[in-house]
Symmetry: C3
Subunit: 346 residues, 3 copies
């Protein structure tokens, strides 16, 4: 990045004091920043660094009274951390990618419909009847098999595979190695113990503003759809099975797994390594804590923990009891003994 | 797909009533199907839809007496859901792929032996001494490193990597991003706390009719083999370590992990997120329920649950006890108190 | 491989008896080896095979008195298994790869700095400002996005993705499908329940002699670094979140997950499917047993088990108590009853 303090203040519609022509070329924490860096005065514990930071430009709260040093500028904003996030999301990474570029080593089927502004890097495969929207970025070795639609401004990182009949909304970010639309894990038993595969002729539909983590896998529907709502955020190595439906703004942390046909509400939070059985539902605003296992539907918002999952307060009481269990066994032994003595005295 | 009712009935060797020239272009559930769709009368609860479905063609049980509507046909079969599966597996997906095609961007070593009917898409790498059977499909960016053998009719989805000395049987389906034959995780300790890598000079052997899920990893043997039996079905993000052997028709759900040198019997079912320690064995027909952890061999068929795993009925009793544990602690406190009173009265 | 017994003995600086011109073309276990194979007399239980093995060359302990058969040679070493490991690591696999080769289908940015001896296979992408060291091997379809540095002698297997600002040390081995430097999973909440992405402008730094497993994911730092120390060994499908720091010679088994900003000491061992919460630390020489969950920092070396994790001995006592819990409930019921009788007698 290369921006002047003046340009940064303009992007944030903020006022500043100091030299507006100073050039910003990087970002760092307030205590680690050096000359040429932008930083921000986030949590209170960092306030002590404001007078000593070597950053060239600091986003500070409006009420700040400290003055910037020489060769330094302060930009005044309501919430410095938020302003930093807004700024950086505006200065998108990889902005050096050429609009409309198509690397000659990519294979693009003649029936594919690619928007003029889409960027297609080396080694990509775009199969029959695919549609790629405006300003879409396909990084190296992305594979769109066929009948796939990618909404405007979506970015797909290297080595991602999209199976047939996958629809991705606008402004999504799909991380490297993710696989979307693969066959669900469904079979019927034959009498000899072998399996016959249930055909997966359904599709996968991903909403807008969805982020999907590296090496995450999402299976397509058997007959109908697997649906990921708008604003859903999914971490790395998550598994989402066939016919799952996930409500808007739900977040799922790394290595969690959701079995087939399960329905997840809106604003649900699923922590790392949580597992959900199939054909159940989670209500809106449920929080599943790490490593929990869910075997039954949860109909009430709130936090749940354990395998099988229990309401958080109950899980904590049980865990407390567990730690006393070895002593409890001794206590009961002791009681039994005392009781015997009493009984014998009779 | 584009088939007439006549052609569909012929594929199923079934009779039908209605117009045999009607064209079928898709499939859907009986309650969601529209004009041009095929559907099937599966579970009893769907029978109510038979008179109102908009599907053009319905697979119905032989004893069905309802008559098809205009512009509709019923095909009579013994088991509509099974018939649907059989039909769809016959009408293979991607059947539009050109037999014998080799995309010019793929790298094929001169020593590789590729059957004339194999399909090789863009960006594939086929290294020295590989053998690729008849009607094999390699989707974009598949990498076969060297000394690899792929049996007839096997399909390998995009971005799969096969390490040297991997053998895949016939009619397998390997999903996108899977890695087969990677180095096992084995080291010897040096005195300074660092590790020296144990060389993995073994191989990986996959049977016939095996399905391997997206982003699943299977390590090769250290000296000998990692073996996956015939008809084994493996879901997404599963880890199978070096020298594991898996019996025929075993099924392993997503995110399960099997440590080194463990032997799994036939028709075993391993649910999601189960973990097995190394150097143990599971008998035929064992079922490991979700999130279980196995630290010792299991020699008896049946269902097991928990970490460490217990027989299902024992695990259920313990879980019941756990829920009563906080109350039990109070009860024992209370007993102790009452006993003290009794003792003092003496 | 093709080496004479003479050459093998020379590589190990060892003496031998038998025919030094015998040709070795493979390796196998002592009980499975055949003509042309090298083997070693490892654990004591294999000593019985020394007189009957068909191996052409056997690494034996110095004190061995048995004589080799005809067409056989014994090489005398202090520790046969160690000698075997040393030998095989010297005879590197894929040694047939051509030094300095660059496949024409790879895309190499003009600003990239590739050492003359580096091997670059087909379908690779090397972006702007990347540096690739001497004798580096990039297997097919590896993607180095930009500003990436790869140290000498590092080998990267197929379909690996490195995000911008990733540094890999010397003599590392990165397995197929691994993703290094991806965006951390961090968001701030908007008032409407949606999320705003926290920009990840940090980097990822991997030390020397690190091995990273297939389809493992490592996120880059938000502002600063994710750091993997020297000699760290990471298995398949492991997740390491943003800003994690891992000390030298720590080993992490398959499917373990480490949440953001957690600090792991040196020589820590993390078993399979373990989960660590964020913002905590593990002391040097801690061992986390399989499937454990860590919610608090651990400051003392030793073994820990359970979710939440407890000292190993405590965890074992609790597990023992659990198995007695159903009986305990009955016992307490019984005690209560007997006590009531005693009380009534008063």
């Amino acid at each position: 990045m290369e921006y002047t303090v003046h340009e940064i203040a303009a992007m944030l519609r903020a006022s500043f004091v100091g030299n507006g022509d100073l050039m910003i070329m990087g970002v760092n924490q307030i205590d680690k920043a050096s000359h040429g860096d932008l930083t921000f005065m986030g949590q209170k514990k960092y306030y002590q660094y404001l007078e000593t930071t070597k950053a060239t430009c600091v986003l500070v709260p409006i009420e700040t009274t400290v003055k910037p040093g020489e060769d330094q500028a302060f930009v005044f904003v309501a919430d410095p951390y938020r302003a930093y996030i807004t700024l950086m999301n505006e200065i998108r990474e990889h902005s050096t990618l050429r609009v409309g570029y198509r690397h000659p080593s990519s294979h693009i089927d003649l029936s594919a419909n690619i928007a003029p502004t889409a960027y297609i890097s080396s080694g990509c495969y775009i199969g029959p009847n695919c549609t790629v929207g405006e300003y879409v970025k396909l990084h190296p070795n992305v594979v769109l098999m066929e009948n796939i639609s990618i909404g405007d401004n979506t970015e797909i990182m290297p080595n991602v595979t999209l199976y047939p009949r996958t629809t991705i909304g606008q402004s999504c970010l799909i991380h490297a190695g993710a696989v979307i639309g693969s066959d669900g894990f469904g079979y019927v038993n034959n009498v000899d113990g072998s399996y016959e595969k249930i055909p997966h002729v359904g599709r996968t539909t991903i909403g807008n503003n969805v982020e999907i983590g590296a090496n995450t896998t999402i299976d397509r529907g058997a007959l109908s759809e697997t649906i990921i709502g708008n604003g859903v955020k999914i971490d790395n190595l998550v598994h989402i099975a066939h016919n799952v439906e996930i409500g808007d703004n739900t977040a799922i942390a790394a290595q969690a797994g959701i079995s087939g046909s399960t329905l997840i509400g809106q604003r649900v939070r699923i922590a790392g390594q949580v597992g959900l059985a199939g054909h159940l539902s989670l209500a809106d605003d449920v929080t599943m804590l790490a490593q929990s296992g869910v075997g039954k539907s949860i109909t009430k918002a709130g936090a749940y923990l354990g395998s099988p999952a229990k309401e958080y307060s109950q899980a904590v009481r049980i865990e407390g009891g567990l730690r006393m269990l070895p002593q409890l066994l001794k206590d009961v032994q002791d009681l039994r003994h005392k009781l015997q003595i009493l009984e014998q005295k009779k």
